[in-house]
């Protein structure tokens, strides 16, 4: 006899379960964590360098750890380490995104008791990383002026799922046709009231409010 059994379970739940475990590990160690997502070349690593430098100079310096996801090479982890963070490179071996299991395997490589902030640099890609939660507390999308102003319309999944938007390379605005109002209208449709930091990693313009946001988030998380 055939019987219908109700299930109602989210697919991808295996990844989500591991993501929850990661979150629990981070919370146990009082670590606030960010997932950086962007297209290749938007400035994820540059923003990490700026962030490390800025937080080192703070009166109450934060101890940073960086997990760098890339298909190959350790260029990005080397840059993060050179800037002064504990860094672990995860080579995804062709996979176009990090998943929760890769992050779980990277976490024990740090001394978690001496980390305040973990930044996970995802693989440069505006599609797949949005579907795989890692267990981080906030997800940050880094857009950049030369990518063009149509990206929210073309990658709605990514723009809908993030908590914070950084618009990098604003120093290039005078040289690139980029309609900020058109871009921001697309963002507003997909993610109303999204917290946004326009900045330039090259000139340093706009970096300060971004650093202050991180410091306040780490402080709130500790409470």
């Amino acid at each position: 006899m055939t019987k219908r059994v109700p299930v109602v379970e989210k697919i991808l739940s295996a990844n989500d379960r591991v993501a929850e475990e990661n979150r629990a590990v981070l919370d146990r160690h009082n670590i606030f964590s960010l997932n950086f997502m962007a297209s290749p070349g938007a400035g994820k690593t540059s923003l990490i360098e700026r962030t490390i430098q800025g937080l080192k100079a703070h009166v109450d310096p934060l101890r940073l750890a960086v997990i760098d996801g890339d298909i190959a090479t350790s260029f990005d982890a080397d840059r993060a380490a050179a800037a002064g963070a504990a860094a672990v490179q995860v080579n995804t071996g062709g996979e176009c995104h990090l998943d929760a299991i890769m992050v779980r395997n990277a976490l024990p490589q740090f001394d978690l008791s001496s980390v305040d902030l973990l930044i996970v640099e995802n693989v440069g890609n505006l599609v797949c990383p949005a579907s795989f939660s890692l267990g981080t507390h906030r997800s940050v999308l880094i857009a950049s002026i030369p990518e063009g102003d149509d990206k929210p319309y073309k990658y709605p999944g990514m723009y809908r799922g993030v908590d914070v938007l950084v618009i990098n390379k604003i120093d290039l605005l005078p040289y690139v046709p980029f309609r900020m109002d058109f871009f921001q209208q697309g963002v507003e449709i997909l993610n109303q009231g999204l917290l946004t930091f326009p900045l330039s990693c090259r000139t340093g313009e706009g970096i300060q409010p971004w650093l202050e946001w991180i410091i306040s988030q780490v402080g709130e998380h500790r409470r």
Binding site: V5, V8, I11, S13, N15, E188, Q192
Partner: protein, 114 residues
Amino acid sequence: MHELPITESILEIALRHGKKNNAARISAIHLVIGQLSSFIDESIQFYWGIVAEDTIAQGARLNIRRVQAQMQCTDCLIQFTPSSRNFACPACESVRVKVIAGDEFYLESIEIDK
């Protein structure tokens, strides 16, 4: 995208619930997929035939219910189906809209034989 790990995840969920209910065989799987979740039915169907082989779900029918995207304008409150090019409200052109349906992606039920 990533239909293979997705299909494996579907199989894992189905087998777990089949076992819990002492199924001898799983004859059908009912999925709900929203239009805004970017998964391709044909690819899932294709991989299903391969991953379900030699399990109690081999040969199970994959039934996919697609849910159309539905949005609501938070200014004039009408509900509408967005066009692929424009998500703004068709009535008042407001861009303050929210998704109320279309991002579902879950396994709703399975049919089992004991």
